[in-house]
């Protein structure tokens, strides 16, 4: 809460780290939905006033800022913006626990400038890189503000009709078929034991394979929900028992982001 370091008489107050939500239409074909179908106008206006950015991907951040500029004038021309990419995340559980190497990215805030943190899609630092930067900001005593925006996981959970009082997001499943099958049965057991909805994601081109694996390994009475193309006109959600999915399969569209959720009873 307090600002780090001594306050020199002439020093500017430290800047804030704003977590800026992106739309959920990353990688989708044009025309994209209007930015104001996915993000609050107040958030778009706040984004337009930020000159310093830390991004999962600089190119998609510039594309985002062009969409912002169509609604609200940017504080500076795009080519004068500072857009620094986050280091590529390391795989594994330790990835979010080594914040030291990202602390230099917060330097503009120590000089009094607000910083925007942004992902390719959805909320930064959730199922996406950026948590280490946020943790480093707290360690440095900087103010951190999440701006309101959509999370595909939570929109999928709401649309599933499965238990929204207790749920877990477990990220990606193993790629190896045997390990994947074991993990699916483990998640089903956890769901049954805790009455807890289990949410997972997959790289879009593997969505059909993940659905096949879920239908192969889950019990017939387990409920399975798949949401795809959330916030897009073509988006849809199907929730059914596994037995019904097997009897009447749904072919997931290729290359469209999807979220999978299961609840065992």
């Amino acid at each position: 809460m307090s600002l780090a370091g001594d306050s020199d008489a002439g020093a500017a107050p430290a800047g804030t780290l704003y977590l800026v939500p992106n739309t959920l239409d990353f990688g989708m074909p044009e025309p994209l939905p209007a930015l104001t179908d996915a993000l609050p106008l107040g958030v778009v206006q706040r984004a337009a006033r930020l000159r310093h950015w830390v991004a999962e991907n600089a190119k998609t951040t510039r594309a985002f800022l062009k969409r912002v500029a169509a609604i609200e004038p940017l504080i500076a021309p795009l080519q004068e913006m500072s857009i620094v990419e986050l280091p590529r995340p390391r795989k594994g559980a330790g990835a979010t626990r080594t914040p030291t190497n990202v602390a230099p990215l917060l330097e503009p805030a120590h000089l009094g400038h607000d910083i925007g943190l942004i992902s390719e899609a959805g909320l930064p630092a959730v199922a996406d890189p950026g948590a280490a930067l946020v943790r480093a900001a707290h360690s440095a005593g900087l103010r951190v503000v999440s701006l309101a925006g959509p999370s595909s996981m939570l929109l999928a959970l709401a649309a599933s009709g499965l238990n929204g009082q207790s749920f877990a997001f477990v990220g990606y499943l193993p790629a190896d078929p045997a390990a994947r099958g074991g993990r699916i049965r483990e998640l089903e057991a956890t769901s049954r034991r805790n009455g807890q909805t289990q949410l997972m994601i997959e790289t879009p081109y593997r969505n059909a394979a993940l659905l096949d694996a879920l239908l192969a390994h889950l019990g017939a009475t387990t409920e399975l929900s798949v949401s795809w193309g959330l916030t897009l006109p073509s988006g849809a959600t199907r929730t059914d028992r596994v037995a019904a999915w097997r009897a009447r399969p749904t072919r997931l569209p290729p290359d469209v982001p999807a979220i999978f959720a299961l609840l065992a009873t």
Copy 2:
């Protein structure tokens, strides 16, 4: 995906169940932030076109629709809207699994009308009633669409800087002090074992008591994050190790919604 029942020649196509996000300023003193600081304009416009509502609370739904009307004309005068309240949720894990009693609330959709489902704050059916209605909609073959909006849990998770690749939301902790302490130690063990951030909520007037309990029962090196007043100008997030919280306590503002997150390493 397909509509239930036979399609009579003259029957209207079935309506869609829209999950309409609400703002996160429920119960906060006036003046409230602008609706467009929290919700996309496209979502506000969609809400203005809905005449049939199923709500956690009819009174707060009318207040929401008044805020909508200040931006976009409503399809009908407020007193002509149909606003039906959800049955009060039963406590316990079985609450989301008895959808039969809510199916009649979907009757307008079978007659061709779209329905809006809305909570007092945030996304419907997530840490809130409504999941049973959504599940019943899937069973009836109705289309279900989540509209983009903020979830306080996910905004808090993003702002925490804790692990956003694996997390669980566990709802409320037990009120009994002994049971609460045991549950806190259990959540800490789960977090350590799975590298999984654990998120929980509390009724605002009990926030200070929950913080005291967390500081009493968690290990000194466990990371604890508290976000309060999310999306409000006075909102803030503190993330620190438990030892630092104990050395330098934060007094949470009374009557402001808060989200608690812990990660044990």
